[in-house]
C-alpha cells in the first residue's frame, strides 16, 4: 500500500468522502445507474490523495453552494 499522504487543505477544496460498499449500492440503485455514468474524478486527484481509493469507488463531495447552502455531488473514480 502506498504511503498515506496528508490531506491538502484549501478554501477551494470541498469535503471529499469515500462511500462504503453499502452506501455506494444504495446510491446506484436510487438513480438506476452504474459507476461509469457518474461524473469522474482521477485516482491521482490531489484532493483525494489521502483517501486510498481504487477504480470504481464513488466519492461523495459536499460542496458549499451560494444558491443552496450545501449540495452533495458524486464522482466515480477512474484511472488515468
Amino acid at each position: 500500500m502506498a504511503k498515506k499522504k496528508e490531506q491538502v487543505e484549501h478554501l477551494l477544496i470541498p469535503e471529499h468522502v469515500k462511500l462504503n460498499e453499502k452506501e455506494k449500492k444504495a446510491l446506484l440503485e436510487k438513480y438506476n445507474i452504474e459507476v461509469k455514468d457518474l461524473p469522474k474524478i482521477l485516482s491521482t486527484d490531489s484532493a483525494i490523495s489521502h483517501l486510498d481509493v481504487e477504480e470504481k469507488d464513488v466519492i461523495k463531495i459536499i460542496r458549499k453552494s451560494s444558491t443552496a447552502g450545501t449540495s452533495t455531488f458524486y464522482r466515480g473514480v477512474i484511472n488515468e
Binding site: 484549501h10 469522474k40 484532493a47 444558491t67 450545501t70 449540495s71
Partner: protein
C-alpha cells in the same frame, strides 16, 4: 426543531435557514408546517424540469450580456499598477481552458503576524524572481588575458540579504567551464576559463548568458505588489508558481490562489477547479457590471470538469469527448471527424439533440423526452 428535520431532504439548506429566520415569534407547529409545505410547493415548481434544455438557456443567458461586454473592455489600464486581462478576452481564456494565459496572477495571503503590514515590502521583494543582472554594476573584458571582471552592486546585494561570497558560489554552480574568484574586501569577481585554449567569443557569450542566471526569489514571479485588502495586508504577484509559493512557511496556504486553472487542477484537484472557474468568471462579470445568474455559470463549470480533467469548451475539449460522431462533426472540422469515424467504424446511437436535428427527428428534450423514457414500441 423536529419539523425542520423532516424537510431537510426536501428543501435546500439556504431556504430552510431563511424560513427559520423569518418565522413570526409565536408560531404554532401546525402553522409552521403549513408554511413549510407552501414553501416546498413553491420550490418544487421553480426547479428545472427533467428534459428542460438548461444548456441552451445558459448559453443564451451568458451570450447576450457577453455582447455588451466587448465594447468597453478594449483598454483597461491604469486602475492598478498591474495590468490584468479582463472582459471578453479573459472570459474566452477561462472557458477555453487555455494552457498559457495572458496575465498570470497569484494572490498570496499571509499568516497572522506577517499580515499586519510590518516588513510587507521586504517579504514581497523576497518572493520576486531576481536574476544576476540586477546585482551588476559593470562587466569588463580584458581581451589580452582573456579574462572578465564583474563589479557587483553592494547595496543591492545587501538589500536582498545576500553576500558577494554567496553570489560567487551560485555562479560557480551554474557555470561549470569557468572559474570565479572573489577579490578580497572588494565586490569584484574575476572570471577565468578553466581550460587554457579558449576562443574570445565564448567569453562574450558568457557575458550575456551570465546576466540571466537565477539568484534568489521564486522562479516565475515577475512582479510583486503589496496591497491592503480590508484590514490585512497581502501580496499580489504577476507570474505564478503556486507550488513553490505554498512551500514557504509564512504563507496562509488555505487562501492563497492563482488564476491559472491548470495549476489549481494539479495542486488542489478537479473540484477546486470547478470552484475556481466560477470565481474567475464571476470576477470578470462583476467588474463589467453584468448580472448573470450563478446557476448558468455553475452549469458551464460543471460541464468543463465532468470528465475528471479540466476541458475547455472547444473542439479539443468537451466537444472531443462527445460520444456521437454527428454531434462532433456538426461543431467544427466535420470532414476530419467523419473520415476518422468511418475508418474506425464508429456507431452513432442518436441519443442526443444535434444528431436528431440533422436527421429531422424529434429531439429528446422537453416533451420529446418521455417517449424515450418509457420506450414506446
Amino acid at each position: 426543531m423536529k419539523l425542520f428535520k423532516e424537510f431537510e431532504d426536501k428543501l435546500p439548506e439556504n431556504i430552510l435557514e431563511e424560513v427559520k429566520a423569518n418565522l413570526p415569534d409565536k408560531c404554532s407547529e401546525s402553522r409552521t408546517r403549513k408554511i413549510l409545505e407552501a414553501v416546498y410547493k413553491e420550490y418544487k415548481s421553480s426547479v428545472a424540469d427533467p428534459g428542460e434544455n438548461v444548456g441552451l438557456v445558459g448559453a443564451e443567458s451568458i451570450g447576450e450580456p457577453g455582447t455588451q461586454m466587448t465594447l468597453n473592455t478594449f483598454h483597461f489600464a491604469g486602475v492598478s499598477e498591474m495590468n490584468v486581462t479582463t472582459g471578453l478576452p479573459r472570459l474566452i481564456e477561462i472557458l477555453d481552458a487555455r494552457k498559457t494565459i495572458k496575465t498570470e496572477i497569484t494572490e498570496i495571503f499571509l499568516k497572522k503576524p506577517y499580515n499586519e503590514g510590518k516588513d510587507i515590502k521586504e517579504i514581497a521583494e523576497s518572493l520576486k524572481e531576481t536574476l544576476f543582472r540586477s546585482f551588476l554594476k559593470e562587466i569588463s573584458i580584458n581581451i589580452a588575458s582573456l579574462q572578465m571582471t564583474i563589479e557587483l552592486d553592494e547595496q543591492k546585494i545587501k538589500n536582498a540579504k545576500l553576500t558577494p561570497i554567496k553570489i560567487t558560489k551560485i555562479l560557480e554552480k551554474s557555470v561549470k567551464s569557468f572559474k570565479f574568484q572573489l577579490e578580497k574586501d572588494k565586490p569584484i569577481i574575476n572570471v577565468k576559463s578553466s581550460s587554457k585554449d579558449i576562443a574570445l567569443n565564448e567569453i562574450y557569450k558568457l557575458k550575456e548568458s551570465i546576466k540571466d542566471i537565477f539568484v534568489t526569489g521564486i522562479k516565475g514571479i515577475k512582479q510583486v505588489l503589496p496591497v491592503k485588502r480590508g484590514s490585512e495586508f497581502m501580496i499580489v504577484t504577476a507570474g505564478t508558481n503556486l507550488k513553490e509559493i505554498l512551500k514557504l512557511d509564512f504563507i496562509d496556504t488555505c487562501r492563497t490562489t492563482s488564476n491559472n486553472l491548470y495549476e489549481i487542477e494539479k495542486l488542489f484537484g478537479i473540484e477546486a477547479v470547478r470552484q475556481a472557474i466560477m470565481n474567475e468568471v464571476m470576477k470578470v462579470l462583476d467588474a463589467q457590471g453584468i448580472d448573470i445568474d450563478m446557476r448558468h455559470i455553475m452549469l458551464v463549470s460543471d460541464t468543463m470538469c465532468m470528465s475528471g480533467r479540466l476541458l475547455g469548451i472547444n473542439r479539443y475539449g468537451i466537444v472531443k469527448e462527445k460520444p456521437s460522431v454527428l454531434a462532433r462533426a456538426s461543431f467544427e472540422t466535420p470532414i476530419k471527424h467523419i473520415i476518422n469515424a468511418s475508418l474506425r467504424g464508429e456507431v452513432d446511437s442518436l441519443n442526443s439533440v444535434i444528431e436528431n436535428v440533422m436527421l429531422n427527428q424529434p429531439i429528446p428534450v422537453g416533451t420529446g423526452l418521455p417517449g424515450l423514457v418509457t420506450k414506446v414500441k
